[in-house]
C-alpha cells in the first residue's frame, strides 16, 4: 500500500536470510560529569577540558590507566575550528595510553548515541575489542565567529601579494564587519529555532501545557530520587565543584511550572505552551561510555551491564513542513522494532530524550494515532502505547539538562545500569529503548538488553 510516509517493514521482513554471526558489544559502564547550566560552573571550561574530565573519571572507575583502547569516538555539536581533533586531544590529555586511536563524530544531538552505535558495530564486527563512546558540549564556551565580510578580507589579505593590493582589500572593510557573530540555534534551511519548530509540532499534535508541565515535573522528581538513592554514584564524577546536575529542581511543582510564561511559538500564531520549565536549557557537560567485547571485558574482570542489540536512524522532511523537526524517531522506532520482531510491550524501560516535554508527548501521540500509523507508518493502525511508568524513570534532559552531544552517553549509561539492576532483581532479561531526536530533522534510536 503506498503511503505518504516512511513505511515500516513487516517484522523480520528486512533481515537478510543469512545474517552473519557477529559477537556481542557489551556496555561495561559509563561516566559523565554533572551537567551545568550555560554560564555556570563550567563557563570557562572548554569542550576538551570537560571531555578529558569525563574520560579520566571513566578511566579511574575501571582502572584503564595506560590502556590502549581499540578506539575512542566522541564529538561536540558546537565546535571550535581549533578543535578539529577534539577527541584525540582529550585522549592525549587523559590517563589512557597515548597510542589510543580516536575519531570525532558530529550528528547534532544524536552524536553521543551514534558514537555508541558506531563503536558497538565495530566491536561486533571484530574490528576493535574495546571502545569509549562519548560526547561533550559547551553552550558557554561556544565558538564566536567573525563576520563574513571580515573573514573574506582576512583570507584575501593572506592571499594578497603587494602592499597596494592589501590596502585595497582593507578598504573593503566596513564597521559592521567588525561585529562578531554568535552561533545561531536556528535551522539553516528554515530560519526557525528548534523551539519554534517544536512549537509547531506541539500545536499540530494538540499537546497541552498541563501535559508538558507534568512531564517536566516527573523528570525533576525522578532525577532527584535517583540522586537520593545513590544511583549516579558509579555513573558520575564531580567536576569544578558540581556534584549534581545544576539544572535539577527537586522542589519544583506543577504550580511553579504553571507560572512560567511561554517562550516558544508566540510569533507563530499557534497557542504558545512551551516554557523554560518544559524545555531544556542550554547546558554544558560531557559523558562517556565504555564498550567492549565479552572477551576483553572478561580478561579484565570488568562488569557487563548490557549489550547493544541494534540501532536505527531516520530523518524527516521538516523543511517543507511534512513532519516536525524532532519527529524522526517516530519513524525510526517502528522500523527498528519490526526488524527485531518486537513491540512496545516488550520493553522494560523507555529512554526518550526530552529536548522539550512536547517532543516526547508529540512522539507518543503520533504512535498512538490510528491514522498516522496507517498513512505515515504503513501499519494497520496505531503503532502502540508506551507504559508511562517505564518512561524516563530516572529523569531525563528536562531535569538533567542537555549538553547536545553528551546526552546520548548519559542515556546509554543510565539505561544500561537500570537494565542490569532490573535483570538482577527479577532474574529475567530486561530490555530498553533509547530514542534521541536531533537537529536537521534527524533521529537515532537503539535497543539495549541487560546482561
Amino acid at each position: 500500500m503506498p503511503i505518504d510516509g516512511q513505511s515500516t517493514p513487516t517484522p523480520g521482513g528486512s533481515v537478510p536470510a543469512t545474517v552473519p554471526e557477529t559477537r556481542r558489544a557489551v556496555i561495561v559502564g559509563a561516566n559523565r560529569i554533572p551537567f551545568a547550566r550555560a554560564g555556570g560552573a563550567y563557563a570557562k571550561s572548554s569542550n576538551q577540558d570537560m571531555l578529558t574530565a569525563a574520560l579520566d573519571g571513566l578511566i579511574a572507575r575501571f582502572g584503564l590507566q595506560e590502556e590502549r583502547i581499540g578506539q575512542v569516538a566522541a564529538g561536540a555539536v558546537l565546535k571550535h575550528s581549533r578543535d578539529f581533533n577534539l577527541t584525540r586531544e582529550a585522549v592525549l590529555g587523559s590517563a589512557l595510553s597515548a597510542e589510543t586511536p580516536v575519531y570525532d563524530l558530529q550528528q547534532a544531538c544524536a552524536t553521543g548515541l551514534e558514537t555508541v552505535v558506531g563503536l558497538a558495530n565495530k566491536i561486533k564486527l571484530g574490528q576493535i575489542d574495546s571502545g569509549i563512546a562519548g560526547g561533550v558540549d559547551s553552550a558557554s564556551d561556544a565558538p564566536v565567529v567573525v563576520s563574513e565580510g571580515l573573514r573574506e578580507v582576512i583570507l584575501d589579505l593572506h592571499r594578497a601579494k603587494s602592499l597596494p593590493q592589501r590596502l585595497q582589500i582593507l578598504g573593503r572593510l566596513r564597521p559592521k564587519d567588525l561585529a562578531p557573530l554568535a552561533p545561531g540555534t536556528a535551522e539553516p534551511r528554515t530560519g526557525l529555532s528548534m523551539g519554534e519548530h517544536q512549537a509547531l509540532t506541539t500545536a499540530q499534535w494538540k499537546i497541552s501545557r498541563e501535559a508538558q508541565d507534568e512531564l517536566a515535573l516527573n523528570s525533576h522528581h525522578n532525577l532527584a530520587a535517583a540522586y537520593e538513592s545513590g544511583f549516579f554514584d558509579d555513573l558520575m564524577t564531580p567536576y569544578r565543584g558540581l556534584t549534581r546536575d545544576a539544572n535539577l529542581r527537586a522542589d519544583t511543582s506543577l504550580e511553579k511550572l504553571a507560572a512560567l510564561k511561554p517562550v516558544f511559538g508566540r510569533n507563530l500564531g499557534a497557542d504558545a505552551t512551551m516554557t523554560a520549565g518544559n524545555s531544556t536549557p542550554l547546558t554544558d557537560g560531557a559523558s562517556t561510555v565504555l564498550l567492549a567485547s565479552d572477551d576483553w571485558a572478561d580478561a579484565r574482570d570488568l562488569p557487563k551491564l548490557a549489550s547493544v542489540i541494534d540501532a536505527e536512524a531516520a530523518a524527516v522532511d521538516f523543511v517543507h513542513g511534512k513532519d516536525g523537526l524532532l519527529m524522526a524517531p517516530v519513524f525510526a522506532v517502528p522500523r527498528l522494532l519490526a526488524r527485531q520482531n518486537l513491540t512496545l510491550a516488550d520493553f522494560d524501560y523507555f529512554e526518550i530524550h526530552e529536548a522539550f516535554a512536547a517532543t516526547v508527548l508529540s512522539s507518543l501521540a503520533a504512535w498512538e494515532d490510528d491514522e498516522f500509523g496507517r498513512t505515515r507508518l504503513g501499519l494497520d493502525g496505531a503503532f502502540g502505547i508506551i507504559d508511562r511508568s517505564r518512561l524516563n524513570v530516572n529523569g531525563s534532559s528536562l531535569a538533567a539538562g542537555h549538553p547536545f552531544a553528551a546526552t546520548g552517553g548519559r542515556i546509554v549509561g543510565t539505561l544500561a545500569k537500570m537494565l542490569h539492576a532490573k535483570a538482577a532483581s527479577t532474574g529475567r532479561p530486561a530490555r530498553g529503548l533509547v530514542s534521541v531526536c536531533a537537529a536537521g530533522g534527524q533521529g537515532v534510536v537503539a535497543i539495549l538488553e541487560s546482561l
Binding site: P2, D4, R189, T190, G191, L192, N267, H320, G321, K322
Partner: protein
Amino acid sequence: MTFQEPVVLAEMPSLSKLYVNAAAQAARRRLLGTHDSAVLPEVSHEARGVTVGVENLTAYQHLIGETASDVLPAGFIHAVVFPLAMSVMNRDDFPLPLLGMIHLRNSVEHRSPLVFTAVLDMAARVENLRGHRAGTQVDVVAEVRLAGASDVRWRGVSTYLAKGVFLPGIDKPTAVAGKADFTAPDPTALWQLGVDTGRAYAAVSGDFNPIHLSVLSAKALGMRRSIAHGMYLASRALADVGPARGDSFAWDVEFEAPVFLPSRVALEIGTEQSCSGAWKHSRYVAWNPRSGRRHFSGTVSALQPLAGWPA
C-alpha cells in the same frame, strides 16, 4: 504583430546607465507631457555571446541559499538578462515610464540546465499591454539560448505595472477580482531579513534600483523604507523547494505586499507528490508574521523536458 529585425546590442547594457537614462526620460516626459501612444515597440533586443562571471555566480548562489553548483539558478539567469529587458523598456517608443514600475508577477520556464561556462544568446521584448485596476500592465518576455542554437533553454515572463498610468484605448478591467482572504498557515520557515538585504542582492544581481538600497534612496522615490527585491524573495523560495524540482521546472511567483526592510518573513513551503511518491509540485506562500499580510506566493512544478534535448 509585424516582424521587425531584432536590435542586436554590441554588449549587455549597463543597468546604472539605464536607470540614469530612465530618470532623464521621466524628466523629459514631465516637461514635454506624456506621449499618448498605446502601442508597444515590436522590436526584440538581443545580446549574443554572453558569459557569466563565476565569482558573481557563487556569491549569488550563497546569498539565496543555493549550493554553489555549476548550474545557473533560474533566478540568476533572470538577473543576467534583466538589463536587456530594461533596455527594451527604456526605449523612447516604450509607452510607459520605466521608473516606479511595480513587479506584479514572474513566470519562468527553466527548460534545461545551463552551466556557468555556457556562452549564451539572449533576447527580450515586451508584449501584452493591458489594463489593470490601478494602471497599465505589460509583459516583458526574455529568452535564453545556447549561443547559435535555436531552442530556448530558459524563458521568463515578467509582468510590470505602471501604477496610475492609463493609456488611451486600454480599458480598465471591468470586474476587480476580489482578493481571497488570506489566513496564515503554520510556517515551515522564518526568514530574518536584515536592513542590508537589498544592497546584498543588488551586489550579486546588478540591480541597483534605489528603492532597494537604503532608507534614504527609497524615500527619494516615495517609499517609506527600502524594500527587498521581489526576485530575491522568489529565488530564495525556489532554493528552499530544494533539489526535488529537478533540472526542468516552471517557477511562478505573484507579488503582493512589499517586504520592507528589515523584517521577518514567515513562509510555508509544501510539496505535493504523485501516487508513486514522485515530486509533482511545490507551493510557497510568504507573509508578515505580525500583520498576517501576504507578501508573495507561487509554485514550482515539473516541466516535461522535450524529447531530443540533452539530458
